[in-house]
Symmetry: C2
Subunit: 331 residues, 2 copies
């Protein structure tokens, strides 16, 4: 079933991309470029799987599914500008390949196109109302999450609670909204829609924690990112915040961690030494295991919500297997 | 009636602004800042006047009216980043007062909030569908217009036809959409909606031509912008393009114009000399009168479309008087 969904999503993205061969090319080429970057398409897949969970037709959910993929790509394009990111999936980011005005504008168009896809989905008015309302709230939260992320970059330290609030907004509510939108289109009642929202949210938090983990302990080749990139950027990941907490009882180690954070080599031997040293501190503080336990805990919380939903056990199992497989990837 | 509408719009903008006193303040303060800048609120006014033209209730149109004001402000914030504009209405632009990431993100939130306002407007499903569809198409065209504007900046010359296509997308379709949305909410039929769209579009083109004119021939104090700013920026205005066309028969003058365009003083004596010299060429080519005639021609075209609409003559006159007054402002 999942393979079937994935194939449809890829075909529909190709169709959409072909429809966007429009002038001015400076505006539409970056959209096609982003859509061609591939990826696991987890978000539209969640919409379709959510719809299927309650016996809905894929054809009703495909347009909103694509809308969410576009919205996701819009946030990537704008976030990459804000983060000064040169690369995404080993390819130049839009503002690097073109320029910042083009990246701002083509991002804007992606957002409008997302709304256009939802509006054209021919859903019954009541469902359309709900879908738009969830979509709006989610999009606002994603922007809020990104703003907190930008704010926190300039702070010396944030609490683990602040970290979780931030990733919930920035990452998890998007996945939560995918499922809620999908199941409502599929015909779920409000209570089940909320169960699936919780499933998506906690799964999203688990995904983000795993992203943090893979940056340090993942296979860089498979992961497609520079290993230790978060360490070099002093990014406030769960690993770093937890390590700061744990080492606070050990003055020597805590000072070493703070010292590494006070220097910002970006490449070469110094960068390598920083990554290795911070990783040694993480190892000492048992951060890998702690993070894995945290991931498991959020995944279990997600599954508990899913189990509460009144959908077929078989289809629920499909969803659990899918997220479990994603959470075991390449660590 | 117009005063009544204006008062309601200002009150509702204040209410909206109060509702947006939210964390993170870095995200919401810029929105409140933009909304507090004032202005003539022509766009929401057009929505309300359009609705009133066909006997609709103001309460049905106010939410979409605010949505369009938000969308307009979103485009201003993002355009100011792209144009490197330090000031707007004599105040620092958002990316200058805060920073570019904040300007990108708060612009994004404004767009989502605009959709939220439309979705919450409790319009009948069929009308809501139309309003969203017009809004989506308009927003995409506005982005396309801005991209053409960015593209044209790097070209040595564009045709007057390209200029009109660009300002139609960038400026005029927004005003056209305001009226079309307003009259549909008011109960107009499709044909009248299209008549009002044409009225708004041609009025919008007339407004932009007048903006171009005021930059050179307006009262700088009242206009609130640096006089001759477009000349210094070599902006491809109607005045410049027309002057290039007309002087093409006069080699000496044409070369002088091209020479002035090859240097880019931004302030001081050189800047003043450039403004004065280019204005002299404009005077020689009779550009002021030609532009005024063009404005009148678009305004007349607009009125012809309005007169076709099956609304009360009295209310149509109100709309004509309003736009006529705006077109005679401070020249």
């Amino acid at each position: 079933m999942i393979k079937n969904f994935q194939q449809t999503i890829n075909e529909e993205i190709e169709k959409l991309s072909a429809e966007l061969s429009l002038p001015p090319s400076e505006l539409y080429e970056p959209i096609r470029y982003m859509l061609s970057m591939g990826g696991k398409r987890i978000r539209p897949l969640f919409v379709l799987m959510g719809c299927d969970l309650f016996g809905g037709k894929m054809s009703d959910a495909i347009s909103p599914a694509l809308a969410i993929e576009l919205l996701h790509n819009f946030t990537l394009v704008h976030d990459d500008i804000m983060d000064n990111a040169p690369l995404r999936r080993k390819k130049p980011t839009v503002h690097t390949k073109w320029n910042t005005p083009t990246a701002i504008l083509s991002g804007d168009v992606m957002m409008v196109k997302a709304y256009q896809l939802i509006c054209r989905s021919k859903l019954p008015p009541k469902i359309l109302d709900s879908v738009l309302s969830i979509f709006n709230q989610m999009a606002i939260k994603v922007c809020e999450g990104q703003q907190w992320d930008v704010n926190y970059e300039n702070l010396h330290k944030i609490s683990i609670q602040q970290y979780f609030q931030m990733i919930e907004l920035k990452t998890a509510v998007l996945l939560a909204a995918c499922l809620k939108i999908g199941v409502l289109i599929g015909g779920a009642h409000q209570e089940d829609a909320n169960n699936l929202y919780e499933f998506g949210k906690n799964t999203g938090i688990a995904f983000q924690l795993q992203d943090d983990l893979l940056d340090v302990y993942g296979d860089a080749e498979k992961f497609g990112k520079q290993k230790g990139g978060d360490i070099l950027a002093n990014k406030k990941t769960f690993l770093l915040l937890k390590a700061m907490d744990i080492t606070s009882a050990n003055q020597y180690m805590n000072e070493e961690l703070l010292q590494w954070m006070s220097i910002k080599p970006t490449e070469g031997k110094d960068a390598e030494e920083k990554i290795n040293s911070v990783t040694r501190i993480y190892d000492f503080a048992n951060i890998k295991k702690i993070t894995e336990e945290e991931i498991n805990s959020y995944h279990k919380k997600a599954i508990t919500s899913l189990e509460r939903a009144s959908a077929s056990s078989e289809k629920k199992k499909e969803l659990i297997d899918f997220t479990s497989a994603l959470l075991q990837r390449e660590v």
